[in-house]
């Protein structure tokens, strides 16, 4: 696999950082090279947060990318900021719960999924990011649903949040299904 | 509500609370419920009331208030972390006709800046210092500061601060009150209307001491950092009242004015 890069972007509390980390972790477990880079510092406070995860079968050069292979946009400002930068043939997974209209991005495929609504069905607003990630898996095929489930599980367990694995697993599945 | 509707609606009413003139229209970048905002406003109101907006220079810390210059409609200097008192001294010595205030966090004032803070106080420099004590480093992500309470969890005291390792919380205002140099030292809080009113009075007194050339005035203000305390703003207020105040009692500590 060539370098496959994903920017995850949203508001502070939407789980953006974790989403990116799980992509990286899942990639690593698949034996791939990975990098993960957050935006950091005070601009995170209250404002938007984003991070970049790259997976690749070869050594990864730059951990920053100007033209990512895919974008997960949790809200409108994120789409505005990064939408146009996604490379030709790339994928944008966007949160149609918060983004009503979106422009066309030429040769980029846009996959709208209602992150919030699906999470609401699971009675847990916190899992919107796993919904997003499931959708991303389906839309990009960069990592399989199983790989992400494994990466998610390991990540949560290691940070003492094992009890949330189940609901997150469901969210991944629902998201995956929703991106059909 | 449209301007017109509002005007009609408030006919026969007087404005009893509004944005002070010394603040511009920019929104604070503080987190929801952060007391820095309240304190900033109180200072601005005081500047308005004393009519000194035109000849006041503020010095802002590195810390969550680093953007002071964005919000205040006065001249502002943004020095290095911890140096705010020394920079204020520099301004005041060069231009004794200006009113100079220093605005400092607990990391700034009581950790990296202890030397400069202490000697400005001991010299009795004719400046007004605000020491915003939120018991940790807000800006950098919630590390322990010398004012962190015992057993308080921060990112650098994951099991709570232990006196054995890091000593007890430092009481800067009491410590500086042991010196002969300062004129006025007080500790205030802004978690309810009563304390806010008292804090405002203390701020005004501290500025007056300067305009009257009476020397060094320090207003310590216990301040909430809901984000790094991991509490909602209302709980954060309660924490000050129930915990922080016990360690740092409110009131005037020194008054030679």
């Amino acid at each position: 696999m060539e370098e496959y890069s994903t920017i995850v972007s949203g508001f502070g509390g939407q789980g953006v950082i974790l989403t990116g980390k799980i992509i990286a972790r899942s990639g690593m477990e698949e034996g791939l090279e990975v990098t993960w880079l957050p935006s950091y510092g005070p601009e995170m406070r209250g404002g938007t947060a984003n991070c970049t995860a790259i997976i690749s079968s070869k050594l990864i050069g730059s951990p920053v990318v100007n033209n990512p292979s895919s974008l997960i946009a949790f809200n409108e400002p994120s789409l505005d900021k990064f939408g146009a930068s996604v490379r030709e043939g790339g994928v944008i997974v966007l949160n149609s719960s918060l983004i009503e209209d979106h422009p066309e991005y030429g040769p980029t495929r846009v996959v709208p999924v209602s992150f919030n609504e699906i999470a609401r069905q699971l009675e847990n607003q916190k899992v919107i990011n796993m919904v997003a990630l499931g959708a991303w898996s389906h839309a990009t095929e960069a990592l399989s649903l199983e790989a992400l489930q494994k990466g998610m599980k390991l990540t949560l367990e290691e940070s003492g949040k094992g009890k949330f694995v189940e609901v997150n697993e469901k969210a991944l599945e629902k998201g995956y299904a929703a991106a059909d | 509500m449209s301007k017109e509707a509002l005007a009609e609606d408030t006919a026969g009413m007087e404005k009893v609370f509004d944005r002070p003139k010394s603040l511009n229209n920019q929104q604070f970048s503080y987190c929801p419920g952060c007391h820095h905002g309240v304190i900033n406003r109180l200072i601005a109101e005081t500047i308005d009331e004393l009519g000194i907006q035109d000849n006041t220079v503020g010095t802002a810390p590195v810390g969550c208030s680093v953007f002071l210059y964005k919000w205040f409609d006065i001249d502002v200097i943004q020095p290095a972390h911890g140096r705010v008192s020394a920079v204020a001294t520099g301004v005041k010595r060069a231009r004794p006709d200006l009113n100079v205030f220093a605005y400092q966090g607990d990391g700034d004032f009581a950790s990296i800046g202890t030397n400069n803070s202490t000697h400005a106080a001991n010299r009795g420099d004719n400046i007004t210092v605000f020491f915003i004590n939120n018991t940790l480093y807000g800006m950098t992500g919630g590390e322990m500061s010398p004012t962190t309470l015992l057993n308080q969890k921060t990112t650098t005291t994951p099991k709570g601060r232990k006196a054995k390792d890091f000593g007890p919380p430092i009481k800067m205002s009491e410590m500086l009150s042991a010196l002969d140099g300062p004129t006025y030292i007080t500790r205030q809080a802004v978690y309810d209307v009563k304390r806010i009113d008292q804090t405002k009075k203390a701020i005004k007194k501290a500025f007056r001491i300067q305009t009257e050339g009476k020397g060094y005035a320090l207003v310590e203000i216990l301040s909430a950092c809901p984000i790094n305390w991991g509490m909602d703003p209302v709980k954060a207020n309660e924490r000050i009242k129930e915990e922080v105040e016990n360690v740092y009692p409110l009131g005037d500590i020194l008054d030679r004015s």
Partner: protein, 351 residues
Amino acid sequence: MGEKKLMRGNEAIAEAAIRAGCRNYFAYPITPQAELLQWMANHMPEVENGTFLQAESEVGAISMVYGAASTGERTMTSSSSPGISLKQEGISYLAGSELPSVIVNIMRGGPGLGNIQPAQGDYFQSTKGGGHGDYQLIVLAPSTVPEAAELTFESFDLADKYRIPVMVLADGMIGQMMEPVELPSPIDPSNLPDKPWATTGTNGRDPNVIRSFALGAENLKSINLDLQEKYEKIRKREIRFEEIGVEDPDILLVAFGTVARIARTARRLGKKEGIDIGIFRPITLWPFPDERLAELSESLDTVLTVEMNAGQMVEDVRLSVKSRAQTPFYGEQGGVVPTPSEILEEVKHHV
């Protein structure tokens, strides 16, 4: 070596230090190295004799390093640019007193308060002496998270071997990003060779003294000559660099740290367009790999230096290359990280 872990650069550096036997860590918080402090706060108390102390200031921290290193124990501090500036007097003292110690600088944008984005503006400060007097640090510049861990681990050996402060010089990007890391197995610091010079209480031997003070010019001169002799030894033995495609490339790109990894991507892009970009990456910024670079430049037209600053390492490149090849410079500043395509664009101006 254990299994791979996904770690932030700051965390990997901290953990590598602990595994290298570092038992004393003193520092003051600053972005973008905050996680390093946090890791130490969490994990130093878990190892035997492990000391984590958040100092009152960077000046306090470097002074505590001076004290702890005097006992011969492995000791580290870390900070980012403005905090490192505050440590300059202390660093000059550490070097003058020949105290082994490790200093990590996770660079950010300057000058002054600047911002907290990745930058490389402290090359001069680290390699030419931000402090006063003639002294050197060994300066190691990792370009990936695993390498940051590896170099940090080795820095303690280098520090002990030469009784010299070693600086690990990285930037906010390396500090903040995560990569899979395979950490070295922990060493047992009690098995390290003795340090007969350390101030550990005399216990019967003659007193030891740690100082950088020498009254009388001739005394201080001889101390300085000894230092220079040591530096010469290090220059001979410890130079490190990485080369990629340096045999007859269209252009040689010299870069360290983060820029070097971005340059790799630029090289890949270049290949697609038929441009062969060689990469020369100094790993030791001091001692700088001048001879090898001189050698390579014999057969080159252009040696392009790329940095995230206004042009600092490029001086060492020019001193090495002399007039053998053109030595243009391309830099980004203020926390802007050059992209692979920007670097490629720059390359195209020169080939």
